[in-house]
Amino acid sequence: MEIQSCVSILNEWDIVAARQLGRNVAKELGFGTVDQARITTAISELARNIYLYAGEGQLCIDRLNENGKAGLRIIALDKGPGIPDIRKVMEDGFSTSGGLGAGLPGVRRLMDDFNIDSNPGEGTDIRATKWLR
């Protein structure tokens, strides 16, 4: 069971819209304020990556319900240049965003599940899930 809402990311204001969408869904699902902050921070990072490196893309929020467990999945999609060396961008300490500990490894650590798929020239598909405890 997945209900999906999306925001197109074209400019910096759309990052705020994506955060708002994520925060609303997180609140509805019953996430506490700390987890809400984590989820919106992860959304910020992913949406900002689209804005900075792909130019445009989509950020979608899934409501998950697996065996009675509720969760929220962030999906960041773009048809940008793709990531030539995924092993490299998943390394610690060398975030291109300049944020200490931020970037994709930071997002992975904030969330429960993290998956990335990227092909040079075809774009990037990142999915990150947080489960309600």
């Binding site: 708002q20 092993r87 998943m90 300490g93 965003s97 200490l100 998956n115």
Partner: protein, 336 residues
């Protein structure tokens, strides 16, 4: 945000805006602020002080108890500052180490350097990718004029720097043994003595050594406990194990290695690899040799170098881009 503004003024402005309208916009501004603060290495206890000062400015009439309560938060965050400062220092150390490893890995490339020979009637593809920065796998080609193409593939038990140290010795030992070069069993027997003498008891090396005779098109080979390769018979489109028995290098200095033979026809391929290829751990456990064969089969019509590149790309993806072991694969194809 105006860059001339102090952090204090910026923080206060963000806080005020949020208190007015509780907008997501203001929270986003707060996150952008933290990016600046982190880049400026502002420790976390300083943020608590910014919060307290901004609140005192915006809500001057709160009871003293509120301000006291910030002393506790400040105390706790000062200890978190320890971790924050250590983090800066670890990042520096790690940058230095990375740099060192990169130089080392270049030194290793120079020390271990080999080039894939160009031989009429034989197409060769080779790829070796370390799991960490330094490679504990090794391959080496020797093209002996019209006589033969010799190929060695080896794997130190262990990864990273210790393995790399060992490999540089093996390379040196191989270069010092030109007179035995042609006989796979003799090569393994002398290398075994070198390893046994020079390397500490907990280090072992697996090695496959093959000599492809160009006139007879026979592959002579021997193995010191190395992952068995495949022999692809083009005519029947079937994969056979290139089985050879022999003890690891470094166990017993008197070990003898048996020499095996395989006749190679046009369209046949010799596929050699390290266990990093077969012990590629995926969500469903290690891949089977069967599964590996199905991957190779997909690209079987391509030139050997493209096959090895594509197989690596597929298996890298299967492991979510985290290699657990050094990965080496070599393909020799008789084309005429």
């Amino acid at each position: 945000m105006n860059k001339q503004e102090t952090l204090e003024a910026q923080y206060s402005k963000i806080l005020q805006e949020y208190m007015n309208n509780q907008s997501e916009q203001a929270l986003y501004a707060a996150q952008q602020f933290s990016r600046t603060a982190l880049a400026k290495k502002v420790p976390p206890e300083e943020i608590i002080s910014l919060q307290k000062n901004a609140m005192q400015q915006l809500m001057p009439d709160l009871s003293p108890e509120v301000w006291h309560s910030f002393d506790i938060l400040l105390e706790v965050m000062t200890a978190y500052g320890f971790a924050f400062r250590e983090h800066q220092s670890l990042l520096d150390t790690q940058k230095e180490l990375k740099n060192e490893m990169e130089i080392a890995s270049n030194v290793q490339d120079t020390l271990l350097g080999t080039s894939v020979p160009t031989v009429d009637g034989l197409e060769i593809g080779a790829l070796s990718v370390p799991a960490k920065q330094m490679n504990g796998d090794y391959y080496h080609f020797v093209h002996d004029g019209d006589h033969s193409v010799n190929v060695a593939i080896a794997d130190v038990i262990g990864k990273g720097i210790p393995a790399a140290l060992c490999m540089s010795m093996i390379k040196y030992a191989m270069d010092s043994l030109p007179e035995y070069r042609k006989d796979p069993s003799a090569v393994l027997e002398s290398l075994n003595r070198v390893v046994e003498q020079n390397v500490d008891d907990s280090m072992f090396i697996t090695m496959f050594y093959g000599m492809y005779e160009l006139r007879s098109n026979i592959l002579h080979f021997a193995s010191a406990g190395h992952e068995p390769g495949f022999f692809y018979r083009g005519k029947d489109k079937e994969f056979l194990d290139l089985e050879a028995r022999g003890l690891l290098l470094g166990v017993d200095k008197n070990t003898k290695y048996k020499r095996y033979e395989q006749a190679v026809e046009v369209g046949d391929m010799i596929i050699l690899m390290s266990d990093g290829v077969t012990e590629c751990r995926t969500d469903e456990g290690f891949i089977e040799r069967e599964t590996l064969i199905s991957y190779i089969n997909e690209y079987i019509e391509l030139p050997p170098q493209e096959i090895v590149n594509k197989i690596f790309r597929d298996l890298e993806r299967l492991q979510h881009f985290q290699l657990r072991d050094d990965f080496t694969i070599i393909i020799l194809k008789r084309t005429k």
